[in-house]
C-alpha cells in the first residue's frame, strides 16, 4: 500500500499514550484540568486557556487502589477512572472538573476529591429533567463553574474568549460528524476501531490540535485505498461507553461498525452549542438537552398527564431512527456496561423501539475489564450470523 495514514497512526499513538501531550503542555507551563464525563462543558476550560483532559478508564489495568474505596458492584468505568487517578497516572493534572451526570459520577467525584488534592476541584450539579426551572438551575451551575475556574486561572472569562472556544468546539463536533459521514459508504472508508482511537485522541488534546488532527485524518481517509473491507453487516453500537479499540475490534470481527452511539463515539458530537448573546444559556441547553445519554429524563411532552408508549419511545430514541436510515444499518448492538443503571433500565424499551422499526437488535453486556472481551466475540459473531 502506498497510503501512509499518517494522521491515523498519529491518532493511534496518542490513543496508546494519552497523557504524553498533556505532560508536554504541562512542562511548557500550560495548566491541565481533568474531566471524567462528556457532560463537563470543556468550552469554559478552553476559554480560560486551560487544557481539558478526559480522564478515562483503562480496561487492561487491574483495579487495586479503587477497590479500597469503592465496592465491586459499582460502575466499572468510574472504578477504573478513579483507580488510575489514585495510582498517580494523572499526576500531571492541576485540577478536576466533575459533574452529576449520574450517581456513579457524583459518588466517585466526591471520593476523588477526598483522596486527592489538586489545586482545583469543582463539582457541577446537574438536574435530571429538561424542564425550564431545571435548565435555569443548570445554567447557574455552569456560571458557578465559570467563577471558580476564573479564580483558579487568575483571569476573567470574556464573552469573546468563550464565544471563540464555543466556535472551536463546535468545529470539532462538526469535524467528528464529518468523520462519521465517511462510514456511510460501503465499505466504510474508516473502521469503528480507527474512529475510537481518533475520538479518544481528541479528548486528550487541546481543541485546536484536535481539530488539526481531525482535518488531517479526514483528508487522508477520503483518498485512502486501504480502508476497511466490506463485511456481512453494518452495525450501530448503542451504549454508555465504548472507548476501547480492542473491544471495538471484537465488535467488528465479522461486521462493519459504522455508528458508535456512545460517549466513546458520536454521542458527544452530534449537536452544537448555539451562539447567542447568552452563551451560558446555549451551553446549558446543549449539555442538558442535546447529548442523548440515558441519564436525562425525556418524555413526549413536559408534564404530560397521559402516557402513550409509542410517543414516549419516539421521544427517547427517535434520534436513532434517522441514523439507522442514513447509515443503512442492518443490526443494532445494545452494549451495556455492567452496573450502568440508567442504560440498563433502557434496554427492553429500546428493543421495543427497534422492533417497531423492524431492525434486529441484540443486548450484550460487558464489565469493562479485559476478561469480558472474549465472551463478547461469540455474541457479536452469532448476532451477525443471524443477520446474514
Amino acid at each position: 500500500m502506498s497510503d501512509k495514514n499518517e494522521g491515523l497512526s498519529k491518532a493511534r499513538e496518542i490513543y496508546l499514550n494519552r497523557s504524553q501531550r498533556a505532560r508536554e503542555l504541562k512542562a511548557a507551563g500550560r495548566r491541565i484540568v481533568g474531566y471524567p464525563c462528556v457532560y463537563v462543558p470543556v468550552e469554559i476550560l478552553t476559554a480560560l486557556d486551560l487544557v481539558p483532559f478526559q480522564t478515562c478508564g483503562e480496561m487492561k489495568e487491574p483495579i487495586s487502589e479503587a477497590s479500597r474505596v469503592l465496592p465491586g458492584s459499582f460502575c466499572p468505568v468510574m472504578r477504573s477512572c478513579l483507580d488510575c487517578a489514585l495510582k498517580g497516572k494523572h499526576d500531571f493534572l492541576d485540577g478536576m472538573a466533575t459533574i452529576h451526570s449520574s450517581d456513579p459520577q457524583e459518588k466517585t467525584a466526591r471520593i476523588w476529591q477526598s483522596y486527592t488534592n489538586y489545586p482545583y476541584f469543582h463539582f457541577i450539579d446537574m438536574p435530571i429533567t429538561v424542564r425550564p426551572e431545571a435548565l435555569e438551575y443548570f445554567k447557574n451551575q455552569l456560571n458557578d463553574f465559570g467563577k471558580t475556574l476564573e479564580a483558579f486561572a487568575g483571569r476573567k472569562l470574556s464573552t469573546d474568549n468563550l464565544a471563540e472556544a464555543v466556535r472551536s468546539h463546535n468545529r470539532q463536533r462538526g469535524l467528528v460528524r464529518e468523520l462519521f459521514e465517511l462510514t456511510k459508504s460501503s465499505p466504510p472508508r474508516i473502521s469503528g476501531t480507527e474512529i475510537v482511537q481518533v475520538v479518544r485522541a481528541l479528548t486528550s488534546l487541546p481543541v485546536l490540535e484536535g481539530n488539526d488532527l481531525l482535518a488531517e485524518v479526514i483528508a487522508e481517509v477520503r483518498s485512502r485505498s486501504n480502508g476497511p473491507e466490506k463485511k456481512s453487516a453494518r452495525l450501530l453500537i448503542w451504549g454508555s461507553t465504548v472507548d476501547d479499540a480492542d473491544v471495538m475490534q471484537v465488535l467488528e470481527a465479522n461486521a462493519n461498525v459504522v455508528v458508535n452511539e456512545s460517549c466513546g463515539g458520536l454521542r458527544a458530537y452530534r449537536g452544537e452549542v448555539k451562539l447567542s448573546n447568552d452563551l451560558f444559556e446555549g451551553l446549558a441547553s446543549y449539555y442538558l438537552k442535546e447529548i442523548t445519554c440515558a441519564r436525562t429524563f425525556r418524555q413526549a411532552s413536559l408534564g404530560e398527564t397521559k402516557k402513550d408508549y409509542a410517543r414516549d419511545l419516539q421521544s427517547r430514541f427517535g434520534h436513532l431512527q434517522k441514523m439507522i436510515k442514513e447509515w443503512r444499518i442492518n443490526g443494532v448492538m445494545m452494549l451495556l456496561v455492567r452496573y450502568c443503571d440508567p442504560f440498563a433500565f433502557e434496554m427492553p424499551s429500546l428493543k421495543d423501539y427497534l422492533d417497531s422499526l423492524g431492525i434486529p437488535s441484540t443486548y450484550i453486556e460487558y464489565d469493562y475489564t479485559a476478561g469480558s472481551i472474549a465472551p463478547l466475540r461469540t455474541r457479536v459473531e452469532a448476532f451477525v450470523e443471524t443477520l446474514g
Binding site: 459518588k107 450539579d125 438536574p127 424542564r131 431545571a134 418524555q299 408534564g303 433500565f345
Partner: protein
C-alpha cells in the same frame, strides 16, 4: 429459657407499639380505600418533598420500595425477579425495581390490570400516576420511566439538587436551589390537580407542611435523647417508629401526639438511666437498610452488650430549622426537604469531609452519639446504600479511630445475609472495639 432471655434482650419502648399500630392501621385503611376504587399513586422515598403535596390532596400512596421489601420477606419476590429477567431487564439492577417491574408486567400483561393473587398485603393496584425522585439514588427515575412499558400512566420525576459541599457555599447557591425547588413543586401541584381533577386546598397544605415539620422536629428530639449513656432507645424501635415521620404514614395529628409520648418515655428512661439493653458494653451505629428478615440478629448482639444507638442519616429526620418566617408553604416544604442533607454541610465543611451527602453524617453521629463501632451492611443489589460505605469506614478510622464491621447482604436475595457469619465476627470485633477505645483515649477523644 434462652428464648425468654432473648425476648428481654432489647427493652422495647412501650410508646412505639401504638405508633406502629397506627401506621399499620392506616396502611390497611388505605388498602381498603384503594380496593374500594379510590385512586392511588406509586411513589418513591422522596424525603418530605412530594409526600406533603399528595397528603394534602388526600391521595392514597403506595411505595414500591417498601413493597419490594415485603415481597422479599414473604418469599414471593423471586417470581417477580425472574419475570423482570425474562422481560430483558439486567439481573444486576436494584432488586426492588426488578420486583416492581416483574409485578407490573404480571399484573398488566397476564391479568389485564387485576392484582396478582399471589401478591402479599393486598398488592399494589394500577396507579393514577407515578411519582419518582432522584434523591440519594438518581437511577430511580429511570425505573419508573421503565414502568411505562406496562402501564399507560404518566410519571412525574421530582428534581433533587445534589450540590458539592464546597460549592454549596458559593454566593446565591442555596437560594437558587430553593428557587428550583419551589417552581418545580408549583408545577407538580398543577400536575396533580390535573390528574385528580381537584384543586389544591392550600390551607390543608399549610397545615400538612407544618405538621410534617413539627412531627419531624419531635422525632429529632427523641433521637437526640439517645446520646445518653446508656442509650435509652434501640435501632429496632427507630425502624419501627420511622415510617410515620419519613413517609408521613398515618394521620399527622395522631403521629405528633404519639411521638410526643415517645419523647416522654425516652426522657424518663434517660432520667432513670434506663438503657435499651440490659448491659450496654458497646455503642454501635448501623449503616443503611437493616436485614429486615432476620432482625432477631440484633437481639443476639444485644445479649452480648451491643446497643445500636443511631443509624443511617437517610432515615433520620432533618436537623430542625426555623421556617416560621417562610410564608409560602411550597417554599417551607422545599427548604425543609433541602435541609434533609444541607443541614450537615456547614459542619462537613468545617471537618473538611467532602465525601458527600451519604458519608458525612456518620462522622457526626459517631462523634456525638459516642459510638465504639459501626456495623456496615452493604447491599449487593442496592448500590446507593453501599457505594459510600468503604469511604465511611475509612473516615471513621482515620478521623475518629472508630472501627467498622462490614457484613454483606442484599435487599431481595435475603439469603446473602448470613447471621451466623455475622455473629462469628462479633467476638473479634469486640476485641477490636476495646482496642480502639484505648487508642481514642490516648488520642484525647472523650469516649
Amino acid at each position: 429459657m434462652a428464648s425468654e432471655k432473648r425476648k428481654k434482650a432489647i427493652n422495647r419502648l412501650q410508646s412505639m407499639y401504638p405508633l406502629r399500630a397506627k401506621v399499620n392501621e392506616t396502611y390497611l385503611k388505605s388498602i381498603e380505600a384503594i380496593q374500594a376504587g379510590k385512586p392511588a399513586v406509586w411513589a418513591m422515598l422522596n424525603f418530605y418533598y412530594g409526600d406533603p403535596i399528595l397528603k394534602a390532596m388526600d391521595i392514597e400512596v403506595v411505595y414500591p420500595e417498601n413493597y419490594g421489601a415485603i415481597a422479599a420477606a414473604t418469599g414471593v419476590a423471586r417470581q417477580f425477579l425472574d419475570r423482570a429477567d425474562a422481560e430483558g431487564f439486567p439481573t444486576h439492577l436494584c432488586g426492588y425495581s426488578l420486583t416492581t417491574l416483574g409485578y407490573a408486567c404480571r399484573m398488566m400483561k397476564d391479568l389485564k390490570g387485576q392484582i396478582p393473587p399471589e401478591a402479599p398485603l393486598g398488592g399494589m393496584p394500577k396507579p393514577l400516576f407515578l411519582l419518582s425522585s432522584a434523591a440519594i439514588c438518581d437511577a430511580r427515575y429511570k425505573w419508573f420511566q421503565a414502568l411505562g412499558r406496562y402501564m399507560d400512566v404518566p410519571v412525574w420525576p421530582l428534581e433533587s439538587p445534589t450540590p458539592g459541599i464546597r460549592e454549596f457555599f458559593m454566593e446565591g447557591y442555596y437560594d437558587r436551589m430553593v428557587k428550583l425547588g419551589v417552581q418545580h413543586l408549583r408545577d407538580f401541584v398543577a400536575f396533580v390537580e390535573r390528574m385528580v381533577g381537584r384543586k389544591m386546598d392550600w390551607d390543608k397544605l399549610e397545615e400538612t407542611a407544618n405538621l410534617m415539620i413539627e412531627v419531624n422536629r419531635v422525632w429529632h428530639e427523641v433521637n437526640e435523647l439517645r446520646k445518653a449513656r446508656p442509650c435509652p432507645m434501640h435501632s429496632r424501635d427507630f425502624w419501627s417508629a420511622m415510617p410515620a415521620a419519613l413517609f408521613l404514614a398515618g394521620d399527622l395529628q395522631d403521629s405528633l401526639k404519639l411521638y410526643q409520648d415517645m419523647y416522654k418515655e425516652v426522657k424518663a428512661r434517660v432520667d432513670s438511666h434506663t438503657g435499651a439493653i440490659a448491659e450496654e458494653k458497646y455503642r454501635v451505629v448501623f449503616a443503611e437498610l437493616p436485614p429486615w428478615h432476620s432482625l432477631g440478629f440484633f437481639d443476639k448482639l444485644a445479649e452480648r452488650g451491643w446497643n445500636f444507638v443511631v443509624e443511617s442519616f437517610g432515615y433520620h429526620p432533618p436537623i430542625p430549622i426555623d421556617l416560621s418566617k417562610v410564608s409560602d408553604p411550597l417554599e417551607r416544604i422545599t427548604r425543609f426537604s433541602l435541609q434533609f442533607f444541607a443541614g450537615y454541610y456547614q459542619d462537613a465543611l468545617k471537618q473538611k469531609v467532602l465525601g458527600g451527602t451519604s458519608a458525612y453524617p456518620y462522622l457526626k453521629y459517631v462523634r456525638e452519639w459516642k459510638c465504639d463501632g459501626a456495623l456496615l451492611h452493604p447491599l449487593i443489589s442496592c448500590r446507593s446504600a453501599s457505594t459510600h460505605l468503604p469511604y465511611v469506614s475509612d473516615m471513621l478510622m482515620h478521623q475518629l479511630k472508630v472501627p467498622s464491621l462490614i457484613v454483606e447482604g442484599d435487599i431481595v436475595d435475603l439469603r446473602l445475609f448470613n447471621p451466623d457469619d455475622a455473629l462469628a465476627r462479633a467476638e473479634p470485633f469486640e476485641e477490636t472495639m476495646e482496642h480502639y477505645r484505648k487508642m481514642r483515649r490516648e488520642a484525647g477523644f472523650n469516649w
